[in-house]
């Protein structure tokens, strides 16, 4: 089943409440996906520094600090349960290489100048609490509650998937041609960490964007190239986009007010948002890309 949610703030009014809103949305979608949860929250862009969202797995923060300090000197680390957000001027190419090769105990779940990603197994209600999602402010965020189908209940199998700087994807549905698409993308140099179908879709989107396409055209092209059923919410530094496959088996509802746009699998995910009862509420059409 799975639940997906997203909220984009059109004005500054609710920036401080973004984490609280997203946390409530994920809480309400726990019924659709009790196995794991995750979210990406876009905070103010720091032009000089990169932020790396890192899952420590069973490694301790001290050990990680000790190891990473051997390679990078000016770093700032903030711990959130079993994840850390590491800020540094050092470029992704170097940092990712070092972490993947020298600190194999941990895994990078995302990076960029604005994005923060957290994901973990367990009930979404507990996951949002342990990462203190309510305390975050920001401009937009997307989230996912997972009912595992085609791959195991692990952190790697949890959404969102981030396969490039400040990009991420959540997905409700399943893809049938992901093995073929994965093989093609690997030939083009894309790397994958899991057997998961959504990671392939995220990689597909990142690959298209790296070739110079915008998010809207990229998603439109996935109607041709990704086979299966899906509702996608793809996030970038500036906003997010929504797409349902042409058969539209998987649900989605949009609520738009002058201050925000909220997207979710079911209306109950957004029932707690301010003025939602007077929002423009509609079901996105199949095969149409909506972006904000």
């Amino acid at each position: 089943m799975c639940g997906i949610v997203g909220i984009y703030l059109k004005t500054k009014k609710y920036e401080k409440s973004l984490g609280k809103f997203l946390s409530g949305m994920l809480d309400n979608m726990a019924t659709r996906g009790p196995d794991s949860a995750g979210f990406a929250i876009y905070t103010k862009e720091n032009k000089n520094n990169f932020k790396y969202s890192i899952c420590l797995n069973n490694f301790s923060e001290q050990d990680f600090k000790k190891k990473i300090s051997k390679y990078f000197k000016k770093i700032k680390i903030i711990k959130y349960s079993d994840h850390v957000i590491m800020e540094t001027k050092d470029e992704p190419k170097e940092v990712i290489k070092v972490i993947n090769e020298k600190i194999k105990e941990v895994s990078i779940v995302g990076y960029g100048k604005s994005i923060n990603i957290f994901k973990q197994t367990g009930n979404p209600k507990d996951v949002v609490k342990k990462f203190k999602l309510s305390s975050f402010s920001g401009t937009h965020g997307i989230g996912h509650t997972r009912m595992a189908t085609e791959s195991a209940i692990t952190t790697e199998g949890s959404h969102p998937y981030s396969t490039a700087e400040d990009e991420c994807l959540v997905h409700n549905g399943s893809l049938s041609n992901h093995n073929n698409v994965r093989r093609d993308l690997i030939k083009k140099g894309q790397e994958f960490k899991s057997e998961n179908d959504t990671e392939v879709a995220a990689g597909y989107i990142s690959n298209k964007i790296s070739e110079g396409n915008n998010l809207k055209n990229t998603l439109a092209s996935s109607l041709k190239n990704l086979d299966g059923f899906y509702t996608f919410i793809a996030g970038t530094k500036d906003g997010f986009a929504l797409l349902r496959d042409e058969v539209a088996c998987k649900p989605a509802v949009v609520a738009e007010t002058k201050d925000y746009v909220a997207v979710a699998s079911e209306f109950q995910a957004m029932a707690h948002l301010p003025n939602v009862n007077s929002a423009k509420i509609f079901e996105p059409k199949p095969g149409v890309v909506y972006n904000w």
Binding site: A248, P251, E266, F267, Q268, N277, E283
Partner: protein, 226 residues
């Protein structure tokens, strides 16, 4: 009698409404703060009047018998699914599969209904004052799907003996669905439905669609159409 879903459990409210004391004169009920909950007013079976103020989740007023349910808001997937009799009024938009498999009664949607509206309907009247999404009236067996706006792709795919009336544009018809003559019988039927529901519309403005009856008994000559 008023119920507040932010204070009372949905199962308790539904249980109460499903087991009305038939000797009681209390026949009007209101539900506040539905907040997108699923299965609100599912399985009602008495002649009562329920108003829901707000948006509901899936299967609102499903399996309804005799009751009249009015939703002042939008409804999720499968509103009035498998309804047997009574009336369900939706003042906003409806999600997918509105009135699915409905056997009887009237479902009136003031806004739009999305994909697969009236899928496998079996005798219900569904009136959509807005437009409907793709694959509406898929495998519809009996009843009337009346659309004031437009219909998306594959309207009436694999339809049996249900009737479809559309005032707006039809993007495309599904397999074995064809336009039929708007004869006097159909005009009178439509006039009666509108009259019963206090709807002021001229039946003559509608086009009628139904089954070409080539698919539902297998004929080797039609193999290419399957």
């Amino acid at each position: 009698m008023n119920f507040d879903l932010s204070k009372k459990k949905l199962t308790d409210i539904n249980k109460y409404l499903q087991n009305i004391d038939r000797k009681s004169n209390v026949r009007k009920f209101k539900i506040e703060n539905p907040s997108g909950h699923h299965a609100i007013c599912a399985g009602l079976k008495d002649d009562i009047d329920v108003t829901i103020n707000g948006h509901t989740g899936y299967y609102c007023a499903g399996m309804n018998q005799k009751a009249s349910v009015t939703v002042h808001g939008n409804v999720g997937t499968g509103v009035a699914e498998n309804m047997m009799s009574g009336n369900v009024f939706v003042k906003g938009n409806a999600s997918q599969s509105a009135g699915a498999t409905g056997h009887g009664g009237n479902l009136v949607i003031d806004g739009d209904a999305s994909s697969r509206c009236g899928i496998s309907m079996k005798g219900i009247n569904i009136i959509v004052k807005g437009s409907v999404g793709h694959m509406s009236a898929f495998m519809a067996q009996k009843g009337n799907l009346i659309i004031f706006g437009d219909a998306d792709e594959d309207l009436g795919d694999s339809i049996y003996e249900a009737k479809i009336f559309v005032k707006g544009k039809v993007k495309s018809l599904g397999a074995d669905c064809v336009e039929k003559k708007m004869d006097d019988k159909s005009i009178n039927e439509l006039r009666k439905i509108f009259k019963d529901l206090n709807i002021s519309e001229n039946p003559k403005n509608f086009k009628r669609y139904g089954s070409a009856r080539k698919l539902y008994n297998f004929k080797i000559d039609n193999a290419g159409a399957y």
